[in-house]
């Protein structure tokens, strides 16, 4: 059993299906990115993992403990950062950090002091006087200072400036180095791309794809930009399977979207006066958009990790 394990996890709110038979298996020490548009079911998943909401069907296990029936034991191994930093306005940052440390019973105070410095946080300020980003820092410092086995982070960098996002990435990498498991729900695709070992994509309550970034790229087109020394006829390229001419403004330059094998395109280009060629992998943003374009799910190819939803 992994650090996070769900089987057929389902949640209905009245007549609304918020999560549909979610199967997740996040290994110990893994950083797992959880993507999805608003209302896809990401926060519902987190609430079910933390035992805040009760599953309608299925099971969820955190660090080997049943997330609902054995929530307290599960939480001994878990730390959580909520997307909305709603804290106690009359307390200072230092007081809240101490409150959380007391509730948990364990805290690496030396590491906490380093995190306070790293995040450039003033612990003597009252919460009501803090910006959203600074309130988020309180949650991040409190969570990482626990050194918990599993960290569940819901939009953790919401409100943080780019410097603090860098501090966050450093901290996540430290946690990964320490063997901690991180479940990262985020809209910041660049962050997920940089940090996560595996990524799951959720839509309308269903996990529609998951895998490493390399595995997810199977669905998205590779972008190939070609510059020719003379005007050429692109009809031959258009007839190739899996090749789409996205842009060809003056017939001396073409931007192509290529799915599948590159060999037929390379053979065709060999016959043309190519001056330069640039090819790049699809970004996570492009992958994400492919999954949501037109509101239709792509079919999952065999190369992808199977989706058990």
């Amino acid at each position: 059993m992994g650090a996070i394990d769900t089987h057929g996890l389902t949640k209905w709110y009245g007549s609304t299906l918020a999560l549909d038979k979610l199967d997740l298996d996040v290994a110990t020490g893994e950083v797992y990115g959880f993507l999805g548009p608003n209302g896809a079911g990401k926060t519902t998943t987190i609430r079910l993992l933390l035992g805040i909401h009760r599953p309608t069907a299925g099971t969820a296990f955190l660090a080997g403990c049943d997330a609902w029936n054995d929530a307290v034991e599960a939480h001994r191994h878990t730390a959580f950062v909520a997307s909305e930093p709603t804290l106690w306005p009359a307390l200072t940052g230092a007081e809240i950090l101490e409150y959380f440390a007391n509730l948990r019973g364990t805290c690496d105070r030396e590491y906490r002091a380093r995190l306070i410095e790293r995040f450039d946080f003033d612990p003597n300020k009252k919460i009501r006087a803090l910006s959203k980003g600074n309130r988020q820092k309180v949650q991040l410092i409190a969570a990482f200072a626990t050194r918990a086995d599993v960290l569940i982070l819901d939009e953790p960098t919401s409100g943080l400036d780019p410097l603090m996002e860098a501090a966050f990435r450093t901290t996540v990498n430290e946690a990964r180095g320490g063997g901690q498991t991180i479940f990262l729900s985020s809209h910041v695709l660049s962050e997920v791309e940089l940090l996560c070992d595996r990524i799951g994509i959720l839509r309308a309550g269903r996990l529609i794809d998951q895998g490493t970034l390399a595995q997810l790229r199977h669905l998205s087109a590779r972008t190939v930009e070609v510059t020719f020394t003379a005007v050429v006829n692109l009809d031959g390229l258009r007839r190739l399977d899996g090749v789409e001419v996205a842009d060809a403004n003056d017939s001396t330059r073409a931007v192509l979207q290529v799915r599948g094998e590159m060999r037929p395109l390379l053979r065709a280009l060999a016959e043309l006066p190519v001056q330069a060629m640039d090819s790049r992998e699809p970004s996570l943003e492009e992958i994400f958009l492919v999954h949501y374009r037109d509101g239709t799910a792509p079919s999952l190819p065999a190369t992808s990790n199977p989706v058990r939803a």
Partner: protein, 529 residues
């Protein structure tokens, strides 16, 4: 003025629960007082002699003001009822106004509203207009209630009903304006509410010497509560007093509208510090943190309960003297009427106070859930049950402490005037509040678990139970029907001996509600606002 109506309607909609509760509660209280006057003083011949004892008592004058003419129903209602209801209305209006102004700023919603094409002055005016509409409706319903009961019995004329309602409405309007100013000065809703309540307390302190002394009636003019008092029906309302109220209201509104245009939204005008060295006490468990958060309001509850107890204890002799003048009281209050009967009646109100405190604490616990902070707490190794039981134990513990302090204060007040009263019986009276506390907390747990978004009905529950007892007694309900209210079911200590069976029954119902609430809370999803 586009959007002004929407802002007003929005405030009315947000306040609707409290608005309805206040409207019904005050209308019923007015009916009870009016009907009670007719029942207690049926004979005009003996009325003045009976009432002189009350009227001359300094302690009563602190709360009720100067008794200008209590030999008729209008004068009695103005003195006995409207002076205190006026203060309740003033506090209510101040709290609602602060909620609409500083409370919205604290929640960050004011920024959203003011990012629309709405001026700050319109925003402030919308809140004041909404509070004024609510106040007028409350007054109107009370006028109708008093007219319905008073006119057919020849107790009140319609004009007198209108005059009496002025003593309810004007304090609310004026203190709404006071709260509009404190909301500009203080950076937190709690601070603004405490400041508005402080203004009311100072007004009471200023009025008190004029009411209980002689030759210093001019002091009444230094206090808004004195102005309200000078409206006293059945005399025609004082033009000078009415003018002072109107001018003060206008000045406060102008000052508030000026201030709101000067300052930064989210920040009060008075200097404040947002930094301090950490204070790490009472941060080990959620119930400790809740206690820490509530220390300031709890101090006010304690002060109020102790002051009430001491006042009631100090009134014992006066009441006995009054009662001795007419057999009606003996008939109404029981054959064993004496110190103990009066003290038991005073303790009954202590029971209401601690029940209200207990449900207030449970409403505060719900605030942790609705704000989303409970999710952060539960994500720690902390079970839902321990959090809920912690909150419930804190509510019960604090309520019991206040019950004991209040009954002890009654004993101190009585002993201070040389009245013999058993300390043991007063301690027993305090402990006798425990079943009420248990049922209030159990009710709170059940509502929090089954209908978390409707915790406002907790106050309605206490009000209904109290009014059932009060109204039922006036309307002479059969005993078994009266005992549906826990306030009636328990023994009236020290007038009666501690009754085991009712105490066990009320406690058992409370424990049952608590157990059902705990089971449901353990099984349900947490629900944000």
């Amino acid at each position: 003025m586009t959007g002004f109506g929407s802002m007003v309607r929005g405030r009315l909609r947000l306040n609707r629960t409290w608005w309805i509760v206040m409207t019904c509660f005050l209308a019923i209280v007015n009916i009870i007082q009016l009907q009670g006057y007719q029942s207690l003083f049926p004979s005009p011949l003996t009325r003045e002699a009976i009432l002189s004892g009350f009227a001359d008592n300094s302690a009563l004058r602190i709360f009720y003001g100067y008794p200008f003419d209590i030999s008729n129903a209008a004068g009695w209602m103005a003195w006995r009822n409207m002076s205190t209801i006026g203060m309740v209305m003033a506090l209510w209006a101040a709290f609602v106004t602060v909620g609409g102004l500083r409370g919205e700023e604290e929640a960050g919603r004011a920024e959203l509203t003011l990012s629309q094409p709405q001026s700050r002055v319109h925003w402030l005016a919308a809140v004041l207009v909404a509070v004024s509409i609510e106040t007028l409706v409350i007054g109107l319903v009370s006028i109708m209630a008093m007219a319905l009961v008073g006119i057919p019995q020849g107790l009140l004329s319609l004009t007198q009903c209108l005059e009496l309602s002025l003593q309810m409405i004007l304090p609310a309007l004026l203190f709404s304006a006071v709260a509009a100013v404190t909301s500009q000065l203080l950076g937190t809703a709690r601070g603004a509410r405490v400041a508005a309540a402080g203004v009311l307390a100072v007004a009471l302190l200023l009025r008190t010497p004029a009411d209980i002394g002689s030759g210093i009636t001019w002091l009444r003019w230094t206090s808004p509560l004195g102005w309200f008092e000078d409206l006293h029906p059945p005399a025609a309302p004082s033009i000078a007093a009415g003018g002072a109220i109107v001018v003060a209201f206008a000045v406060l509104v102008v000052v508030a509208t000026k201030m709101v245009t000067w300052r930064d939204i989210g920040v009060g005008l008075l200097p404040h510090s947002d930094s301090r060295k950490p204070r790490l006490w009472l941060l080990t468990t959620p119930w400790q943190a809740a206690l820490r958060d509530e220390i300031a309001p709890l101090s006010l509850w304690i002060l109020g309960a102790v002051a009430y107890g001491a006042l009631m204890g100090g009134l014992t002799r006066t009441v006995l003297e009054v009662v001795g003048k007419d057999s009606t009281f003996t008939h109404l209050l029981g054959s064993s009427l004496g110190v103990n009967a009066f003290i038991a009646a005073a303790v009954s109100l202590t029971e209401v106070i601690v029940a209200l405190l207990a449900v207030t604490m449970m409403v505060g616990a719900r605030g942790e859930e609705s704000s989303g902070r409970l999710e952060l707490l539960i994500a720690n190794p902390l079970s839902r049950t321990s959090w809920l039981l912690g909150a419930a134990s804190l509510a019960a513990g604090v309520a019991l402490v206040i019950a004991m302090l209040s009954t002890l204060a009654i004993w101190v007040g009585a002993v201070a005037i040389g009245q013999s009263l058993s300390l043991g019986s007063m301690l027993a009276a305090g402990v006798n509040c425990l079943p009420i506390i248990v049922i209030a907390v159990g009710f709170g747990m059940a509502v929090l678990a089954f209908a978390p978004r409707a915790v406002g009905i907790l106050y309605a529950g206490v009000a209904v139970a109290y009014l059932w007892d009060a109204l039922g007694t006036v309307l002479k309900f059969p005993s078994w029907l009266l005992e549906v209210s826990p306030f009636h079911a328990l023994a009236q200590i020290p007038a009666q001996d501690f009754a085991v069976l009712p105490a066990i029954a009320v406690t058992a119902v409370g424990v049952g509600l608590a157990a059902a609430g705990e089971a449901r809370f353990r099984a349900r999803d947490l629900v944000a606002a």
